[in-house]
């Protein structure tokens, strides 16, 4: 829950957003706004409902004719025609009834489809900052279960609600025309029904929201359990996981039971209220008959009209739940749709034309959370076009944060990041990110084939281009060794790839978009040293004319860079070439030597060999 209620700057507290009504309207009404795309279907469904109701109303009338004029008058002709008329009316009614069901399905499924797409599109565009706090399971719940609640209401509840209200009004008018005194007597019952309706529709929503929240928790635990199943198994934590799930499962059940019990209370209550109307009429009418002010015929007639009025009332009882359920779903849907995309194109943002690749950080300070200590403090450095820049520093010194700012995954708190002199906030995200190839620290591959994964950033890439990228990333060899080659499925349902293989596919994916700026965030950490060297060599050719940023733990990787930026506690403590830094930066020299010296002590023999080999290569 937290991700959604804990608001970040700018995002308003959403818990009660819907309640306020106001300019945006209630969540449910806003959800109904999605019906406007299906106004023909919705209108058709409603018309069909009226026609099918009319058709079925004809049947009793025809029956009466058959009895009065056929049987009583002994006319087989009338009986036969009457019977056929009854069937004909039924068929007409059935056809419209089908149409109503079909059109309502089209409209409601259409709305559900649109809502889901809107949610998905929005989730895709929400910035890193949002996803840092959101739980996947929660988001999935909203896009499936909550959408379904709204859909169910639109598909059956809405038409019923409108027709029930219409029927109530219509028959009330009829009732007044028949006997206004009796009508006045039943009026309190109707008012009571409406009050009960309004009361429980309002009261139901928080209960339903609870159900949906618990469902979200349930989904989160399940989703994390599935994503982390290896950890679960590694620590033999299955019993604990079952317990954890069991707890929320229990809460979910109890929330459902609470809703169910309210339902058990309300529906019969409304039903009984409707019956109470009958009771009042017969009782009060009976007194009038006894007083000689009403005939029995009138009483019976009034009674049957009243039944017509009560039917929609009973229907309202069933719709209450649908209304509050849909309200809960809609509220949760709009919580997401209303979440502000923090990083977005500013009005009038320009397309970034093909860049040279000069990246500059000017006094950049950055915090992940506004209240937090800054993660980067007044960071300034320049990467000239074609330069390779290595970011170097201890774990948690801010290396990854820096590279996250270049494609503008987050906005800086102070200072600015420019690409070819353009503040990254002044250009469109698309045009910026399309020129940046990034290999993130955590390698995420998707379901689908190796080919599709490499072509992720450029689905239209040709076979040759894909293979070329894979070759550069030293991935071609192992991919070709698979029986199905580039068509081998990977991801959740695919082959088991080693960490290093995944990283190389991720590198190929970044290379394929032919970026002007290449960012490698610790992207060869799981690759063996020999392979890494080959990747480095291949990249060196590619790096020509491209600006590249490299984060690596291996000093050998770092020292090849044109420039090294040394970070400590979020500050740039030194920058320059490897040689300059060895001379000027104690921190750099210390880390470098700790690695190198250690190894050299261990490898006296090899050191000698290597030195001679290196010598040969140079000569």
């Amino acid at each position: 829950m937290r991700p959604f209620t804990e608001s970040r700057s700018g995002r308003q507290s959403e818990g009660r957003a819907g309640r306020r009504g106001g300019a945006r309207g209630t969540p449910l009404l806003r959800a109904l706004g999605f019906l406007s795309g299906y106004r023909w279907e919705a209108g058709g469904a409603f018309t069909s409902l009226l026609l099918s109701t009319a058709g079925s109303l004809v049947v009793p009338r025809l029956t009466q004719i058959v009895i009065d004029q056929g049987i009583s008058a002994v006319s087989m002709n009338v009986i036969v025609w009457g019977a056929m008329g009854i069937v004909a009316a039924a068929v007409v009614s059935a056809v419209f009834s089908y149409l109503q069901g079909y059109l309502a399905a089209k409209a409601s499924q259409g709305v559900a489809y649109d809502l889901r797409n809107a949610l998905y599109t929005h989730i895709q565009s929400l910035s890193f900052g949002y996803h840092d706090r959101a739980q996947t399971g929660q988001l999935i719940t909203r896009a499936t279960s909550d959408v379904e609640l709204v859909r169910m209401f639109i598909s059956t509840g809405l038409v019923q609600l409108v027709s029930a209200l219409l029927m109530m009004t219509g028959s009330l008018i009829l009732l007044f025309g028949t006997n206004w005194q009796l009508t006045l007597m039943t009026l309190p019952v109707m008012v009571l029904v409406l009050i009960v309706f309004a009361f429980f529709a309002g009261k139901g929503r928080p209960l339903f929201i609870q159900v949906q929240q618990k469902l979200g928790r349930l989904n989160t635990i399940l989703q994390e359990n599935l994503a982390g199943i290896r950890v679960v198994k590694a620590f033999a934590r299955e019993p604990w996981e079952k317990e954890r799930f069991g707890g929320v499962n229990l809460e979910f059940r109890d929330a459902n039971v609470r809703v169910g019990r309210m339902f058990a209370l309300v529906m019969p209550l409304i039903f009984t209220l409707a019956n109470l109307g009958t009771l009042i009429v017969v009782w009060g009418g009976g007194y009038q008959v006894l007083a000689g002010r009403l005939t029995i015929g009138e009483l019976v007639a009034f009674q049957s009209y009243l039944m017509m009025t009560m039917f929609p009332i009973v229907m309202l009882g069933m719709i209450i739940m649908a209304v509050s359920q849909a309200g809960a779903g809609a509220q949760r849907i709009f919580e997401i749709l209303d979440a502000v995309v923090e990083v977005t194109d500013r009005p009038g943002a320009r397309e970034l034309s093909p860049i040279e690749g000069r990246v500059e950080f000017e006094n950049v300070t950055f915090r992940y959370f506004s209240e937090q200590e800054p993660v980067l403090k007044e960071v300034s450095f320049v990467a000239e076009p074609g330069e390779s820049v290595a970011l170097f520093g201890a774990t948690g010194s801010g290396k990854s944060t820096i590279i996250n700012l270049i494609p503008r995954f987050y906005d800086v708190s102070e200072g600015r990041v420019t690409v070819d002199g353009h503040d990254v906030r002044d250009v469109t995200l698309q045009s910026l990110r399309r020129q940046i190839g990034i290999v993130l620290q955590e390698t995420t591959l998707f379901g689908g084939t190796v080919r599709e994964n490499i072509a992720y950033g450029r689905p239209d890439a040709s076979e040759e281009e894909i293979i070329a990228a894979a070759k550069t990333a030293e991935a071609d060899d192992f991919i070709s060794s698979f029986a199905e080659g580039y068509d081998t499925p990977v991801g959740e349902r695919g082959v088991t790839l080693s960490g290093g293989q995944k990283q190389r596919i991720a590198i190929a994916r970044a290379l394929l978009i032919d970026p002007r700026i290449l960012i490698l965030d610790d992207s060869t950490s799981s690759v063996d040293i020999e392979t890494e060297l080959r990747i480095q060599k291949a990249l060196e050719n590619l790096r020509r004319g491209r600006t590249s940023f490299i984060i690596a733990q291996r000093i050998s990787t770092v020292q090849r860079a044109d420039k090294v930026v040394v970070l400590d506690g979020g500050r740039v403590v030194a920058q320059g070439t490897h040689e300059e830094l060895l001379r000027d930066s104690p921190i750099y020299a210390e880390i470098y030597c700790s690695q190198l010296q250690d190894d050299r002590e261990l490898l006296p023999a090899v050191g000698a060999v290597a030195r001679t080999e290196a010598g040969q290569e140079v000569s």
Partner: protein, 612 residues
Amino acid sequence: MFHGPGGGLSREVERAGDFRATLRRLLQYLRPYAGHLVASLLLVLVNTVLTVAAPGLIGQAVDLLWGFVSGDVEAARALSGLNRNMLLLLGAYAGGWAAIMGSFYVMVTMGQNVLYNLRSQIFGKIQELSLGFFDQHEAGDLMSRLTNDTDVINQVLTMGLNRFFSSALTLVGILLAMLALNWRLALVSFSVLPIMVLSTVFFSGRARRAFRLTRKTIGGVSAELEENIAGVKVAQAFSREQVNVESFRQVSAANRDANVTAESITAAFAPTLDVLATVGVAIVVGFGGYLVLNNLATVGIIVAFVQYVRRFFEPVRAISMIWANLQSAIAGAERIFELLDTPPAIVDAANAVELPTIEGRIAFEDVCFEYNPGERVLEDVDLVAEPGQTVALVGPTGTGKTTVINLIGRFYDVCGGRVTVDGHDVREVSHASLRRQMGIVLQDTFLFSGTVMENIRYGRLGASDEEVVEAAKLANAHDFITRLPQGYHTELTEQASNLSQGQRQLISIARAVLARPRILIMDEATSSVDTRTELLIQSGLQELLQGRTSFVIAHRLSTIRDADQVIFIQDGRIAERGTHEELLAQQGLYHDLYVSQFRTEVEAEPVECEKV
């Protein structure tokens, strides 16, 4: 994301007995609640009786009024009779209300308990299944089974059963009344019943197939959501949002269309039954008219029959609709049972023993392994790790290092040979007793949402706060944790980027350390940690590792050099083994691999490190 919707579990085979078998199995879940069912049935019965009695009371009252108007009954008697009947009616309504409320109440409790049990079972099953299963199934589709598929069952269980009861009761009552009134007319008007049954069968078959598709496609939607929300950062990095939205639209549209089809079938079903019911009315009127003309019935009987037939078909229709809904529930239940029936590839042997506290001697004897039949990943692997030894597994990526350690914890089963711990074949001891004694730091550092404290404590649930902090200190994570906004109580999420990858690794190490394992396994556990921190961790672990066996996979020389044994794995076989020095002296593969590493490090030689 690239593949079509639907899960790999679904085999589209439909056998005649499937439906009934699934239904029977679903009903099994109601068995523990037989008391609830009976109570609900009785309450429905009470309600039905009271509902039927109400018109009678009204009729009596009207008769009294009629008597008063026609002068047969005096005013006082009519008045007291009216009052009495109305009070009785009030009582009947109130009783009916209480009864139906009670029955709903009971059914809701029962239905929710059944669902609770189903969900527990599914989740329990997921915990039981072995890793091989998860290599092949999408998380989103599995999630959909636990939530969406149980949901459709819910709809039938909580509302359907009650309506079924009351409809069946009403049906029987009316049926008897009709037969008593005029059996000829009754039998003739029943003639539409067989057609109703036939059309129900016809529609329900179609409905089930259609609903099955809706279940499958919602699984696809769920899978697509799960994967792409989890990978949303990559999508944004590659400006892939548009393409993803497009492909989601397709999956989502498939679900929409499947739903529209299924609902259309249901939408056609109800009116069809309506028409048949009205045909029933027409028959009553037509044939009844004929009977009246032949003096075999009276007009009054026809009027009564018209009422009855309408009332009669209402429950028939209700039952048929419940039947149709049941199709959706059965389609959901099929997917649930399919999952529940998947045998875990790896189970404790029937006679599995608890592994006693171990010394830590691990032996691979002639082990081979394949993820997919026929594709060997490991072959002829023989190795022994003596208690207290550190074994380093090295070699090019993708050659089977991680697989070797997966076999120690028996996450997969070997295809030949055996893996033993202290002489026990891992297949002969219980999972839990084996894995409890192991601490594993995996390649992907997965953290759960929750606080830092909770995440570390995952390694040993009973650990005190002090022990957690102690473990964090050993893993060199304490310093950065205390710098977090809320220290150990900082909330983490799956994607939280306020922790760097290296910091996540440190937390994973702390988690494993806390488990106080007899065997420690570190699969590239420090790949994203800087070398200085790594050294600190190593010295921290040294004490902990006294007398414990450990396996280490790493590419960095600094991590490997102190190992008691270095095993070089290439193409699924052990190519070289020995200590670091021995292997260097051999001048083989290991030598070549590390010479290259060292060479690059000494290239920039001119600087004298000694001065530091």
